[in-house]
Amino acid sequence: ATPLDPAPQQARAADNGKVLTVAVAQSVDSLSPFLAVRLLSTSIHRLMYEYLTNYDPKDNHAIPGLATKWESSPDKLTWTYTIRSNSKWSDGKQATAQDAAWTFNQMMTDDGAATANGSYVGNFKKVTAPSPTELVIELKKPQATMTSLDVPIVPKHVWEKVSDFSEFNNDKSFPVVGNGPFTLTDYKADSYVRLKANKGFWRGAPKFDEVVFRYYKDQDAAVSALRKGEVSFVAGSPSLTPAQAASLEGAENIQVNDAPGRRFYALATNPGAKAKNGKKFGDGHPSLLDQRVRNALFMAVDREAIIEKVFQGHAVEGEGYIPPRFSQYYWKPSADQKLAYDPAEAARLLDQAGYKKNGDGKRVGKDGKPISYRVLCHATDPNDKAVGKYLQEWWGELGIGVQLNCLDNVTDPWLAGKYDLAFDGWSVNPDPDFVMSIHTCGALPETPEDTGATDNFICDKKYDELYARQLAEYDPAKRADIVQQMESRLYDLGYMNVMAYPNAVEAYRTDQIKSITTMPAKAGNIYGQDGYWSWWSAVPADSGGSSENASSTVVVAGVVAVVVLLAGLGGFAVMRRRATAEDRE
């Protein structure tokens, strides 16, 4: 914002329309709804296709999507969805129950089609479409996710022609036929994804004419782009850094959205990995099997310092398992249950557990060797590394060594149980079932060779009982209560120590986006919602009409070219003159 600065580029004009540009740091893995798993791709699929149901932006409850209503048989094994008749594919054909049935059937019969969302249909017995507006799904056993089947419904008449679902990426011919609020019109790998508003969208046409997701490998570049107005919105990956947020907060025409996150950030402990068949594997440190040790370790972690120093306020201190955003399920330990920061008490606990300091001030394990824990961290996550540094120092004080194992890809040692502690974090869905389920014994892998749904191999009888109870409980309030009991149990076990709930820190230009729906509507996030609310609802700022961005590019390029040319010519002339002057030996 200096005199010379060409006025921040306005919402970009293309085909005389308003364009909303979103800077993203992730690249698209696939545009096929059957293959895509990355957040960016699935968010785009939300825009391209309707799902049976959607989530209410206010409180996350299931609301109609492609299905206008749904009911289940009393035994919860047969679900009947009524498909809306006012949704058309972008090629003009009507979207029907057949399309939905075909989509599910493909996923049930074709391994390739099951790649991304196969888990939803693993329990399906039969899916039929008795009429264009009626979809019937029969289950093998009850399934909690029947109103949150996050599966894009694709047009049968288009996808029928696909021969190999495992290799079809849906990115060759544009526009891509869909029925969501936007239609995909263009895509260039690692460059951009362009979507055009679906004027005939049943819920109402989006206000922007286009949404473009632009890829910035470098988050700083994305933030700079936002500053310049090249993009309208920056999400960051997973969120803007405190420094970026701080610097953007003061900037003109920029709104920083510091929303309570849906993630928790925890320190997971290896409880001794084992499979359902009882086989133990992995090599977690035996001392960690002692609850006192786990608790002591957590008590030596100053969560406040982490919030203050690492997240610089853009997070909330971690307590229970589920972030406070989901107020219904949120639980926090009572004062006496709470493992407050208390290094002295931690040391005492360790002494008590028999891990005493040796002459060098190192605590010694039962095997007589000084204890040093391998902490698995994500090399790509600065927070892991930062917190790791703190852990090193805090636990070092306790006499415990920390070896930070920062890897690009932690999956393998993780699944093999070859770690002692690990940085862990999940995005919590409106329905907590999934994040709760990953700590049940049932989630353990069948054998060490399988991959289970388990997070870090926790298997606790009491927790499992509670889990079973909440599954069967249909009264929301009672169910919430049980969930909170589970959280309490998890807290006490000390295998999963939540340190913080990081905020989602995003920013957008107010001179390009007048308003935008967050989710939850009150203090929520914009990017990566469980629906298409943000982009669908975004209202363009009424700036002085379409900008002359394209022409300003040309002007700048022209100026640069002229300057370069002049400099070159000038240099050449000078050189020629000197050359002739020095034409001696």
Partner: protein, 348 residues
Amino acid sequence: MTADATPALVEKREPAAGPRVRKGSAYPRYLAGKVAGAAVSLLAVLVTSFFLFRLIPGDPVKTMTGGRQVSAEQLAAYRREFGLDLPLWRQFTDYCGKALTGDFGTSYQFRAPVVDKITEALPNTLLLTGTAFVLYTALGVFLGTRSAWRRGTVGDRFNTGLALTLYSIPSFWLGLLLIIVLSVGIGPLPGMFPTGGMESGGEEGFAYVLDVAHHLVLPVVTLVAVEYGQTLLVTRSALLDEMGGDYLTTARAKGLRDDLVRRRHAVPNALLPTVTLIFINLGRTVAGVILVETVFSWPGLGGLFYQALSVPDLPLVQGLFFVFAAAVIVMNTLADLVYPLLDPRVAR
């Protein structure tokens, strides 16, 4: 020579063909040799890329499924799908066999043929490196020549000093600074260039070309800045080596003007040894562009490689590694092939 040749003061006859082989006959063989050598190198690279990346710890299939619940059967199915269930040597022969037909398999994370992913990104990388290459070579050769010819002058010292300094600067850092200064803009300086990417998207025709050019400026400037120094220094020292040459004294003795001596004799001779370097540089720049592509979000091979490594997306990593090494090999070979055409002294 026949026996009854009269011993004459001077021979009038062309001496019988000596051990030197004439151009016409030997070059094809030389060419064939070089090409065969390159092919062997490519094979070696193929082998390396296969084994090197098997060393990355981690079960690609488990990684691929990203910790989602997968049964042993499903894992086995995946292994089968990607041929990971076969013994290593079978995987290897399959891989080689397919690679020879240009099939590098399917990317684990993108679910697309590796070749497609590469051909998608390759032109972008080539555009970036090609432009930078032309510029830094021209700049390096031009300034190097001037420096050598005016050796010891202020201009020479400035030139070499600047080249050495830029050469010592980490390219990514320079890129970041350029973004801050020229892209974001500081002080009275407006942000003149896009912060990243290759295009704004949506432009057509000439506007598109301009748009890409606009995006190209900063990454190219970065590459040119860090790369031209080497060309400059090599050109300079090659020319300095040549400048002692007696043939230059001959040229001067013939009454040639100084600039003709330089243009016609010194520079062409000095540039010959640089040709190899120039080609090899191009090959290396293609591989070394990773950093610049990362900093400027350029949708090229570098970024792809980085993504592929972190999975590890074995087929993609292998394919990219092969492409990078092949770039160097191909350029080396081209240098080998071009050199004798330029320099009559080299074995033909």
